[in-house]
Structures are given as structure tokens and as C-alpha cells.
Amino acid sequence: MAELGIPLSSSRPAPLVGASVADFIQLMKPRVMSLVVFTAFTGLMLAPGQLNPVLASIAILCIAVGAGASGALNMWYDADIDARMQRTAGRPIPRGAVSPEEALTFGVILSIGSVTTLGLVVNWLAGALLALTIAFYLFVYTIWLKRRTPHNIVIGGAAGAFPPMIGWAAASGGISLESFVLFLIIFMWTPPHFWALALYRARDYERVGVPMLPVVAGADATRKQIVIYSTLLVIVAFLPALLNLGGAAYALTTIVAGGVLLARALAVHRVRHGRAAERAARRLFAYSIVYLFVLFAVLLLEAAFGRYLSLSGVSPA
């Protein structure tokens, strides 16, 4: 990474001064963690049943730590390719701040600790779902699919889609159609989100041999898939309104925000050359994050408002 003075090579310098606490926090991918925490909290708030606020906080903490553990294990396994990609060359292992063994140990301890605590304190269904999420992200996505197939993020996206289901299971003790719909929204959101990124990072992925869709099938095929998956996402995102999981505000938001998403996806499909094409992909990538955040934020606000009304003895209807 030229601007950080980090060479883009696979060589891994030995840690000279040891890892700082900040390096271990970086191993946990804090930005990914924040989205996981937010979607898990939404699932927890939307679920039927009342979970003690202290236990709910512990559940969210466990889910956050479990997500961080997945990040550390992913960085441990992918250290060789991370070192050769501009976007990831500054991560703690390629930078030489944390050794791979430290990252592996850190990830395993956090995985066991978060799953066990969630199981013991909240319930074992939530604990099992968290264990499944971590295992899916490490074994299915990182180790099995990522370097083998352009469908890596389509199937691997399931790992990122589990958190609202875990939150729901923590609060209600079960899995339902509603929690599956929350899962489905993130599952359908993942491919267009990462393919937009892959469009302007294709050379990075090509250099390290990760068969992302633009590398294997070309940019135009990727653009077509982005439009298809974005359309499916907008349809799936409307399901909470049909299931009474979201109210009128959600229905309106999903139509407006979905329209903007489709417009940006179509712009990526239409503008295919030069800097304008890269700009369109970057805009879709950035907006997709806002889109998911807004959908879950409205669901969360409606749920919080509904609970407030029920506590006040007023019927939400």
C-alpha cells in the first residue's frame, strides 16, 4: 500500500516490537462488527417475547465477539493474499504486527468464549447459531469457497446474514419465518454489494487468484448479475411489510430506498468505461451500506415505538 509505505509482497516481516492492543482490535474487523451488532440488535428487538435487558446486552456482546473471532480467523487464513492486495495489505498480519499463530489463538479463544457464554447465559439455540456462523465463515467461505468459485460471496454471504437470526433466537428461543426473512435480506444484499467492490478492485483479486465474478466472467457479466440480485433484493426487502414485521414507514422506506438502489445498479450496468464506470461502482458500493442500514434502522425504530406504545398501554394500531 503505497500511501502507508507498506510493500505489496507476500513476505511477512517478523514482529519487532510485538502487537499492540489496537492491532488485536483491528483483527476483529470493527467495521464489520458494527453492522453485525446493529442487525443482530434489530433481530432481537423485533422478536416476540421479552428478554431481560442485561441478558440482551450480553447476547449482543457475545454476537459481536463471535463476529470479531470470525474476522480474526479469516485474517489468519487469508494472510498470504491479504499481503498482496492493496485494500488489505495494511492488516495486522501482513504488516507484521501480529503473528499468524497469535491471530489463530485469539480467534479460537474468542469463538469458544462467545459461543459458550451465549449458550450458558441466554440459550443454546442462539449459541449454536453463533457457532454455525463462525464455522460457516471460516470453513465454508474462507477456506472452501473464496479461492475456488465465483459463487464464493453468494453462498458465503450466509455467514453475514445469520446475526439477526441469532438476535431473534436469543430473544424468542426459536427460529421463525420472520427471522428467516431478515436473513434473506442480508443474504441477497451481499452479492451486489461485494460485486460492486470487485468491479473496481478486479485487478487486486486477479493478482492473488481469487476468482471473483469480474475476474472469471468479466465486468459486463458482473454488471448484469448486479442488476438481477439488486432486483431480487428490493423484492425480498419488501417482505417484512407483508409479514407485519415492518409497518407503513418501513414499506415506504423500502420502496424509496429500493428505487435508489435499483437506479444505482442500473447506472453500473449502463456506464461501462473509464472513470465514470468506476465511480458508478463505488457509488453503488457506498449506497448499498446505507441502504441496508436504513432498512434495519426503520425496522428497529418501528419495533421500539411499538414497544413504547404497548408499555404505555396504547394500542399500536
Binding site: 502487537a19 492492543v21 488485536f24 431481560n52 442485561v54 441478558l55 468464549g113 457464554t117
Partner: protein, 48 residues
């Protein structure tokens, strides 16, 4: 390793040790609070 690097190495090791100690203390507190939250008023419900 130069003196400066040695000092930095020791500083970072100390910070890691403090972080581990705090995490363990937080875990103890977490299980204590979780126990009280799960048992609620039943904490006092025992034969004397």
C-alpha cells in the same frame, strides 16, 4: 533490537497484559451479573 525497540516491546507487552486482566475481570463480572439477572428475586429464595 535497539533500546528504543526494547522499551516499545515492553510497553506493548504490559498493555496486552493489562487488556487480558481487564477482559478476565469483565468476564467474572459478566457471569455474576448474568446469574443475578437470570435468578432475579429467587436469589434470596433458599432455606435458612
Amino acid at each position: 533490537m535497539s533500546d528504543e525497540e526494547q522499551r516499545e516491546w515492553e510497553r506493548r507487552r504490559k498493555m496486552r497484559s493489562v487488556a487480558i486482566a481487564l477482559a478476565l475481570a469483565a468476564l467474572v463480572a459478566l457471569f455474576y451479573i448474568a446469574t443475578i439477572a437470570r435468578l432475579g428475586g429467587n436469589v434470596l429464595n433458599r432455606p435458612l
